[in-house]
């Protein structure tokens, strides 16, 4: 795997509180990489360590195999969660200022920014003051300022917060577009739907530890291992008796159309799935059985609760 960014055993403490403990992860080049975790898990601290805003107590961050330097940071694109813009400045001037700080020439910055402003329907706002913008529009300006210099690595902290579904979708498409043009994207989020839709890889951080890492596909497959959805004709007592010792019931069973019942079961790895099916078929009037691939939302909750 071609790794663009590597975080090795990073720990960071603030007075009386550990924000990160021995966190490691590898971000493949060209991936959309999700950093997940409940509030206060340490996601923003990790991002601030990567961007060198905060220095780690232990561990290191490597970009293209070399310890990340101040100069490297100047070439990445970073959009913090709490978005700051100069309220009294004009929108266009503001975007130009950030683009030029990233080293772009005046003409280049103006041409590219105007293109982005057209695309995200902000062109009419170029000469307006930042304080006149709605929250969503201000976020778009921030997004444009982050990506306009086309960095190879982009880091977004909670990019979807504050966007309506239409604009959130728009942003997703833009993020995928940036990936297709060769950028690697790291973003932190609570929005699990967006993770399923656009992330290739994730890391789940909880209570300052990395508790789950890998490609979204693998994680979902593994987490869903041996969970099945069963529809049967018998009553619940018979079903419970039939699964006794060979499978465990997940949650409550419920009635479905046609007078049948539906339940979710977990078949232990050492049990033969086919023999379970045949037993259910014989004793419970099995109507259908299908493997359940959990949503990222389920995985998130189970991982955080320690039941994955």
């Amino acid at each position: 795997m071609d790794t663009i960014l590597k975080v090795e055993n990073v720990s960071k403490s603030y007075t009386g509180h550990k924000a990160l403990e021995d966190v490691s992860l590898s971000v493949p080049r060209g991936a959309v990489y999700g950093l997940l975790g409940p509030n206060g898990a340490g996601k923003t601290t990790l991002i601030r360590v990567i961007t060198r805003i905060t220095l780690a107590d232990k561990g290191r961050v490597l970009l293209d195999g070399k310890v990340i330097s101040e100069e490297d940071i100047f070439h990445i694109g970073y959009m913090p969660e709490e978005r700051g813009l100069y309220k009294k400045m004009r929108v266009g001037e503001q975007a130009m200022f950030f683009a030029r700080l990233k080293g772009m020439s005046k003409s280049d910055a103006e041409a590219r920014l105007k293109g982005w402003f057209e695309r995200l329907e902000l062109a009419d706002w170029w000469n307006r003051k930042v304080e006149d913008l709605s929250k969503g529009m201000a976020q778009k300006v921030q997004f444009i300022s982050t990506v306009v210099h086309e960095p190879k690595l982009l880091i977004f902290d909670e990019p979807f917060s504050g966007f309506d579904p239409i604009n959130a979708d728009r942003l997703k498409q833009e993020i995928l577009g940036l990936r297709d043009r060769g950028a690697t994207i790291i973003f932190s989020t609570h929005n699990m739907a967006s993770v399923e839709e656009i992330c290739d890889h994730i890391t789940l951080i909880n209570k300052s530890h990395n508790i789950l890492s890998g490609s979204v596909e693998e994680i979902r497959r593994e987490a869903g291992g041996n969970t099945f959805n069963v529809i049967y004709a018998s009553n619940d007592e018979q079903f419970t008796a039939a699964t006794e010792g060979i499978a465990s019931l997940l949650g409550e069973s419920r009635g479905v159309v046609g007078g049948y019942r539906e339940a979710k079961i977990l078949i232990p790895k050492d049990e033969d799935v086919r023999s379970v099916i045949s037993r259910l078929n014989d004793t419970c009037g099995l109507r259908s059985i299908s493997e359940v691939i959990p949503s990222m939302n389920d995985i998130f909750i189970r991982a955080v609760n320690g039941t994955l």
Binding site: T51, I53, P80, L85, K87, R100
Partner: protein, 424 residues
């Protein structure tokens, strides 16, 4: 350097384009000129028409001695006080009735009964004349001619010159403590205001940038030092622009406005003070030199303190929280003002000299001494030390700034600040 320049220009253009900046820059000199010339204008044009005062004299010898002036015209009447009051009422066009009792020195013996509100000028004219008349009467009773006494009161005018070795009045530069005093106060206070106002601007600007989290975006584009210096220099540029505009306005005023506003007779007055004011404002070379010094000390003084203000701003979350540090930063500035006041008694006293060499008090104290014509080497040494200290203070401030700018939450203790200072 390019990035710092971008930050400087952003800070500058944001402030210089504000309406408040344009208004204060243009109105301040007008306001000051108005303040300076208002008293003379009031004196020139403030007098109203002559007032009629009817005099009822019971003493019998005072009324004849009263002399009418451009302000007051005295008319003697033989009627009684009551009759006069009823005859010369509100519609008579008479300002008032001056009643002089038989015992003029007795309290309440002299009364002014007016038909309209009284004025200090008229009251003064009357009391001065009455006192003179009584004095003359007394001198006469002692057998002394009052003209002898008049010839005793003398007023000597003192023209001061800077010695150039020739002893020739025409070649020596005219100096005057009075005008130096005024200039010293004006320059010292101007510098004090600029350091405080613009220093506070640095603090506010840093706090705002920190609170709005723009700083998080900025630090992935440039170093904290570039941000801090960009802010400080951008605001310094605003201050320099303001002073430059003021200088141009004052020079323009000295060349065109002063000759226009002040009449020939005022300029040709015998008053030494007035002459030296006219001379100073009219001397373009001298005014340019003063503004040059002002600019050098303003920039140096501002830069010295701006680092401290930036460090203070970085350590707090709101402008209110910054007040504690602000008070401490202001102590040497206020001390400078106190020392400045002693400069006017003796511009070359040891305390004035040392305070104008020690960088933290130098800008204000030195600029107040400059009009008194102090040796150039003192100014050079003072400026040199000021700018060297600026480098040290900024280095120290930058170390606090780069840590403080990312800290949110409770205000750091002095111990924590010390730890930030020593962080690698």
């Amino acid at each position: 350097m390019r990035k710092m320049w971008l930050i400087i220009m952003r800070e500058f253009s944001e402030r210089a384009r504000k309406k408040s900046f344009i208004v204060t820059t243009l109105l301040m000199p007008l306001f000051m000129v108005a303040l300076m010339i208002a008293p003379s204008l009031v004196m020139l044009y403030g007098t109203s028409e002559q007032k009629r005062v009817v005099v009822v004299d019971r003493s019998g010898w005072v009324a004849d001695e009263l002399v009418s002036t451009p302000e007051v015209m005295f008319e003697r009447s033989d009627m009684s006080k009551r009759e006069v009051c009823s005859t010369y009422g509100e519609d008579s066009g008479v300002f008032g009735i001056l009643y002089i009792g038989s015992e003029i020195e007795h309290p309440d013996s002299v009364q002014l009964i007016t038909n309209e509100s009284s004025s200090i000028m008229i009251e003064e004219t009357i009391t001065n004349q009455l006192s003179d008349i009584v004095n003359r009467q007394k001198l006469q009773s002692y057998g002394i001619d009052y003209r002898i006494l008049d010839s005793l009161s003398t007023r000597v005018g003192l023209a001061t010159f800077a010695n150039d070795g020739t002893g020739e009045e025409a070649s020596m530069e005219s100096t005057s403590s009075d005008i130096n005093y005024i200039l010293g106060i004006v320059l010292g206070m101007l510098l004090y205001m600029i350091i405080i106002i613009y220093g506070q601007m640095v603090l506010t600007s840093v706090v705002e940038e920190k609170a709005s989290r723009v700083i998080d975006v900025m630090v992935t584009s440039c170093t904290p030092f570039q941000i801090m210096m960009g802010k400080i220099l951008g605001i310094a540029l605003v201050a320099v622009t303001q002073i430059a505009i003021w200088a141009l306005l004052v020079i323009a005023a000295s060349n065109y406005l002063v000759p226009m506003l002040f009449s020939e007779e005022l300029v040709a007055t015998n008053d030494v003070m007035m002459q030296s004011i006219m001379g100073t404002i009219g001397d373009t070379g001298y005014v340019t030199m003063l503004f040059g010094c002002l600019l050098a000390f303003v920039v140096g003084g501002f830069l010295l303190y701006a680092g401290l203000y930036a460090a203070a701003g970085s350590a707090v979350d709101s402008v209110q929280e910054g007040q504690q540090y602000n008070t401490i930063i202001m102590m040497p500035i206020i001390l400078s003002i106190i020392i400045m006041m002693t400069v006017f008694n003796d511009p070359n006293s040891p305390i004035a000299f040392w305070a104008s060499i020690i960088p933290f008090t130098a800008p204000i104290v030195m600029i107040a001494r400059v009009p008194f014509g102090i040796p150039t080497w003192e100014i050079v040494v003072s400026l040199l030390l000021l700018y060297i200290s600026f480098i040290f203070v900024t280095w120290f401030a930058a170390r606090i700034f780069r840590v403080g700018i990312f800290m949110h939450g409770k205000r750091p203790s002095w111990r924590e600040l010390w730890r930030w200072l020593n962080l690698k």
